[in-house]
Structures are given as structure tokens and as C-alpha cells.
């Protein structure tokens, strides 16, 4: 045991585990018998070995005890939208650093978008990601590009990518402008059970705007990207999905109008799901008052009306999932004039604090971060039963921590909450027989 502790001291983040006893955690695990109860859980060799009321499990000498009073024990989070830079943009992030940031944020799985160079647009790049992410705590699932080179012209080899491990298709942060191409993508991928993620922005309406159109863009003398640019595309793609009788998922919707469109499409029985980026649930374009490029994201931060509509939609299930939209950049891409700065912020480690700040309950968070994402892409939801593989996150929603160079696991620091004190700390993440200690 002595050697084991020294190892754990040198490598505090990861070490293969022996026995772990989580004491007095509040279990939020939809479907579990003990859901909502305070429990003790014993994990041995990556499996749930025992589960019972507080104090029901005995403590052996060789067990690592985690005091978890006030903490939430839930299925590991699943992020439907992260960017890890591989292949080609490893100076922003690579799969190992990205997965470490994911684990530190409470995620046991992420889906990486094809905003890479080259894009994840063939079996080769899909396989690269699958192979590179072997043996990690965090499962990394590639999302393949819809079109070759993400050019929005010709379909990429969608079926081949699915065979290699792509869980869905998206052109990443490029919205498909050609209605015909989008229609064919939906119809073609339906044939083999593929799912298309739509990113909605009409380029001719959005123009070269770098922020939301509203009071703030007027005050700052910047052109605005109107809600209309997103809503036109959401409406178009709902038409296309209905016409082709194909399922569709909308990535990072940001406006009240998009919520309305998707809500009524669901009511009509369309197979439609959507997600929202965590920062859109907390921040508005008012944050841009000082031209801080760490608030420059795509879609842009919108108005308070939009923000409130999105929070409400998460609560009533109209928005299914919440994503980090983790978009790491070197400082050279961010510490420049707002106009030329790159879009995006890192998000994996700040999703949980952001959602708590936005006022979501632990149950709402678990539903939108752990359950819904897996349902959307048809992956199994972790099970809380004896002898099942432990796929878990333990977090304390009240514990303070500082997001800084020491706690940051990403290669990038482009996050408006960097160097700030945050509430909601991940204590433990378990998956694939590995443990991350926060």
C-alpha cells in the first residue's frame, strides 16, 4: 500500500484502482432503485461491487474512502460537442489533453466535431481518433463530416465513417448552405441508421458579423448576426427532415425562435432533438461591452430573452442536451482585436459551474449532461447495478475551486472564467476501470 500511495501522490489524477468506497453521496441516477437516496457505494476493479444506505457497507483496511457528504453521484457526463484538434491542430488540443480536461469536468465520454485539419471526413481520420483514444478513462467518439473537406458541396463517405466508429455527422461550425445537400445527407444517412447534426446559420444573413444583433452591437458599432440567420436554417432543416422522414439533431441552438420551432416540431411528432452550449444558458451579449474576445463564440451570445427561453427549454425538455462546445485556441488566436479573434471558448471544465450558476438543479444537470446525450446518439446509458462497469461522476455542487493554470487540464486558456473562483467541483470520475481524482 505504501508504494501505491506514493504513486498516487506523484500522479494524483490517474491511477488504476483497487477498492474505492464512496460514502454518503446523494445518488442521482435515473432508472436506479436508489435514485434520489443517500448511499454508500463500493467499487472494486472498475465495477460496482456493493451499494447500500449510508453506513451499510463495512470499511476494510485496503479500501480508499471518499467522504461524499453533500456530493452528487451520477452517471458520467457525455459531451456531444467538443473540439480536440486532432488531426492537425494539436497545438490547440490533442486527444490526451482534451480527454484529461473532459475527465476534470466530470465527463466520461465526448463526441469530437470535425473542425480539424484535415477534417474528420473519411474513415482514416475516424480510425485515427478511435485508435488514439484507446485506453483512456474518457471515451472519445468521432463525429464525421457531412461533406468532403467540410466544403458543403459533396457528401463524404458517411457509411464508411460510421463503420469505423463515427457516431453522427456534422460539418462542425460550418452550416450547410445548400438545401439540396442537407436534404440528401438526411435521406442517405437514414438508410443505414446515421444521424445528422445540423449547425444552423444562414451565411448570407449572418454576413461577416462577429456578435449578436441587438442593443449591444449597436452600442459597440459592430455588425450584428441576427437570430433570423439561425432560425431560417432551423426552419429549413425541420422541413427537410420532415420531407425525408429522417431524424435530425440541432447543435448549439441559441435563440428563443429556434426553441419555438423545435418545440412545435416535437409536438408534431418529428424525430428531432437539440442541444445548447452551457455558456448560452448563463451569458448574454452584454458581456461583450469591453470587447473581450473570450466571449466571442459561435453562435454568438444572444439577448437575455433568448437566454431565459433556453433555460426554460432545458427545464421542459424541449432542449434535450447541454454541451461544452469546448473550442481551445492558442493565445495568439484570442489575444488580438475582437474582430480577428477566433470563435470559441474552452468549456469542458466549466460546464458544471456554469450550469449551477445558471440555476439548474442537479437533476436537470444530470438529465441534460448524462442521460439525454447518450439517448440522442443511441449509446447505452450507464447502469447503476451490482457487477456493472462503473461509469460515474461524483461532484460537490457547493465546493469552491479556482480555474487556473494549476487546475486547467486543457492546453488552452481561452475561457472567460479562467483565473476566477467557481462553485461546483468534480471530485471523482470513474470509467473503463480508471479513476480521476479532482
Amino acid at each position: 500500500m505504501g508504494v501505491f500511495y506514493i504513486f498516487a501522490f506523484i500522479y494524483p489524477d490517474y491511477f488504476s484502482m483497487d477498492k474505492l468506497l464512496i460514502k454518503s453521496a446523494t445518488l442521482i441516477f435515473p432508472g436506479a432503485d436508489e435514485d434520489g437516496q443517500q448511499v454508500d457505494m463500493l467499487i472494486v476493479a472498475g465495477k460496482i461491487a456493493a451499494l447500500g444506505p449510508i453506513g451499510s457497507l463495512k470499511t476494510d483496511d485496503d479500501v480508499i474512502v471518499i467522504q461524499a457528504e453533500g456530493s452528487v453521484l451520477a452517471p458520467g457526463f457525455f459531451d456531444l460537442n467538443a473540439n480536440f484538434g486532432e488531426p492537425g491542430l494539436e497545438s490547440k488540443e490533442d486527444i490526451v489533453s482534451g480527454a484529461a480536461a473532459a475527465a476534470a469536468g466530470g465527463f466520461t465520454a465526448v463526441a469530437v466535431h470535425p473542425n480539424t485539419h484535415p477534417p474528420i471526413h473519411s474513415q482514416t481520420e475516424v480510425s485515427l481518433i478511435v485508435n488514439r483514444s484507446n485506453n483512456l478513462l474518457v471515451d472519445v467518439y468521432p463525429i464525421g463530416a457531412i461533406s468532403q473537406n467540410r466544403e458543403g458541396k459533396d457528401l463524404a463517405e458517411l457509411y464508411d465513417m460510421k463503420l469505423a466508429g463515427a457516431i453522427a455527422f456534422s460539418d462542425g461550425n460550418r452550416s450547410i448552405q445548400q438545401s439540396g445537400l442537407m436534404s440528401r445527407a438526411l435521406l442517405y444517412s437514414k438508410g443505414f441508421g446515421g444521424l445528422v447534426f445540423a449547425f444552423s446559420e444562414d451565411a448570407s444573413v449572418a454576413g461577416k458579423a462577429k456578435m449578436n444583433e441587438g442593443r449591444m452591437s449597436t452600442y459597440l458599432g459592430m455588425k450584428g448576426n441576427p437570430n433570423l440567420a439561425e432560425e431560417l436554417m432551423v426552419a429549413r432543416d425541420l422541413y427537410l427532415a420532415a420531407y425525408n422522414e429522417a431524424p435530425i439533431h440541432f447543435s448549439t441552438i441559441s435563440t428563443a425562435g429556434s426553441v419555438d420551432l423545435i418545440r412545435s416540431a416535437k409536438a408534431k411528432g418529428l424525430q428531432v432533438t437539440c442541444d445548447v452550449a452551457a455558456h448560452h444558458l448563463l451569458l448574454t451579449d452584454e458581456a461583450l461591452i469591453d470587447f473581450d474576445s473570450n466571449y466571442k463564440v459561435k453562435p454568438p451570445l444572444r439577448s437575455e430573452v433568448d437566454r431565459l427561453a433556453l433555460v426554460e427549454a432545458v427545464r421542459d425538455g424541449s432542449v434535450d442536451a447541454i454541451v461544452s462546445q469546448h473550442t481551445p485556441h492558442e493565445i495568439e488566436f484570442k489575444e488580438v482585436e475582437f474582430e480577428t479573434a477566433a470563435f470559441g471558448i474552452t468549456g469542458l471544465q466549466t460546464v458544471l459551474p456554469i450550469l449551477l450558476m445558471a440555476g439548474l438543479s442537479n437533476r436537470e444537470i444530470v438529465q441534460a449532461l448524462a442521460i439525454a446525450p447518450r439517448k440522442i446518439v443511441g449509446l447505452p446509458i450507464p447502469v447503476c447495478q451490482l457487477d456493472e462497469n462503473a461509469n460515474l461522476v461524483l461532484y460537490n455542487p457547493d465546493e469552491q475551486w479556482t480555474f487556473d493554470r494549476e487546475s486547467n487540464r486543457s492546453k488552452a486558456e481561452n475561457n472567460p472564467f479562467f483565473k476566477k473562483e467557481l462553485r461546483g467541483k468534480v471530485q471523482l470520475v470513474i470509467n473503463n476501470g480508471q479513476v480521476y481524482y479532482g
Binding site: G224, P226, F291, E337
Partner: protein, 311 residues
Amino acid sequence: MPTETHQLSTPHLLGIKDLNEQDIQLIFETADTFKDVLNRPIKKVPSLRDLTIANIFFENSTRTRLSFELAEKRLSADVVNFAASSSSVSKGETLVDTVNNILAMKVDMVVMRHPYAGAGIFLSKHVKAQIVNAGDGAHEHPTQALLDAFSIRERYGDVAGKRIAIIGDILHSRVALSNILCLQKLGAEVRVCGPATLIPKHIASLGVKTESNLIKALEWCDVANMLRIQLERQDINYFPSLREYAMLYGLNKSILDALPKQITIMHPGPINRGVEITSDVADSQHSIILNQVENGVAIRMAVLYLLAGKR
């Protein structure tokens, strides 16, 4: 010289947003003094003898740069000029590096024009120098707004209660935004007029009404500030042709003469004669366009002088 009893509330002039009404009045009073100086046989004062000012222009400018340079020289500052065309910006150097390189040569103050909104604010956070914004994208052009308001004050004795119509390309205009903010702080009422495609959709959030009809705007106002159509900033077509623009929003002598009262015509220059205003309007006694240019030097002297007092 103005007394030192008052100081500006800001170490930089990044926008009218930085100024309160007292600041603006202080700048005006200081500019009054400097305007007297400019009309003396010896137009120079030693106030900024120990100061080196860099005029860094990342965008073409003739009159603003010349006006600043004259203001600096009239105050006896040492002046260096840097234009983007002759710069290392095209070699991929960042704005902060470019400016820090210039500052390493012991420059105290930077007057910067830049094509992007917020560039001055960004720079002020990353370099150790006082920054004067000489225009950043379609955001602010504070010294232009100050000289415009100063010229209105000169014409009417006061800005408060006056009605000013800003006519033309509001969407691409830093002059419009700074003018709106400055005139409102001084108690004037502002309306904008122009093609709807060149007016920000949310302009009313600034407390500004929109008038789409030129004649109605002119009938309403005391002062018409005719903006230049900035074709170089328009990435797409916002109106079909200059000819059609002139048909709808061009100001000519017959329109002016038909108005029920005499109004004052302003223009920040350079004028597209025959587009936003005809020559006979630009050269008429209604026009204070050349007074604006003259006042520009006095206003810029006042700004530089007062900012130097904040060092």
C-alpha cells in the same frame, strides 16, 4: 492656459463612452483657449514639449492624421507617424507587438486609427501608453464628435435642446455613434435618416428615432450632419447605386431653400460632392464644414493637453 483645477475622468480617450458631461465641457473650454492661440501670429505653445506622440494609422486617413499632427506640433510635442501601408502589419505582426515596438522607442502617447471596433480598448489593456482613438471601425471617433458638438456650440451658443439629424450611412459610421452619444450627453436630440439597409435595426435602443424621409428629417432639425457614403466599408450592396442614393438622400440647394427655416449643414469629410450633398450646398452660408475642420485642431489640442495632464 486653462487652469488645472479640473481634470478629465479618463487616462485615455477611447470613445465618448469614457467621458461625462463635465469632461466634454472641460474639453470645450480648453479648446476655446487653443482656438485663440491658433488665430495668433505665433500659433504654437510649449505645453507638450516633453512629450512624444505616435500617430499610428492602420487605415487611410488624410485629414484626421493631419489635424492630429498639427495639434501635436502646435503643442510642441515630438511627433512620429506610422502608416499601415509602410508597416510590418502585412508581415503578420500583431497590433500589440507593433505598438510595443514603437513604445520601446520611448513614445508617451499613441493616436491610433484602426479598421476594427474596439481596437483602441484592446490596445489600452495591453500596452503601457495613453491611447487616443482616432477612429476604430464603425465604433467610435470621439474627437470628430467633440469637434462637431463644439462647432454646433459655436454656431448656436449651446448644444442643449438642439435638434440634430444625422443623415446617410449610419451602419458603417463611427462618426454617427460618437455623435449620438456626445450630443445626447450635452442635452441635444438626435435623429437618424438614411436607407433602412444602412441603419442598425436596434438604433432606437440608443434613444434615437429614425426618419426615412429626407425632407421630414430636414424640416425637423436645426443641424443636418451629412455623412459620407463609405463604399469601402460595405462588404455587400446595401443600395443599388450612388445615383439612386442621391435621388433619395442627396441634399441639394432647392431642397434646402424650400425648408421653412434655415438649418446648418455639417459634414465630417471628405465630401462626395453630388452624392450626399451638392457643391452649392457644401459651399453655401448654411455650411460650417470648414469651421469643423478648423475646430478639429483646437479640439485635438485640448484632448492631448488634458490627457497629458493625467500622466
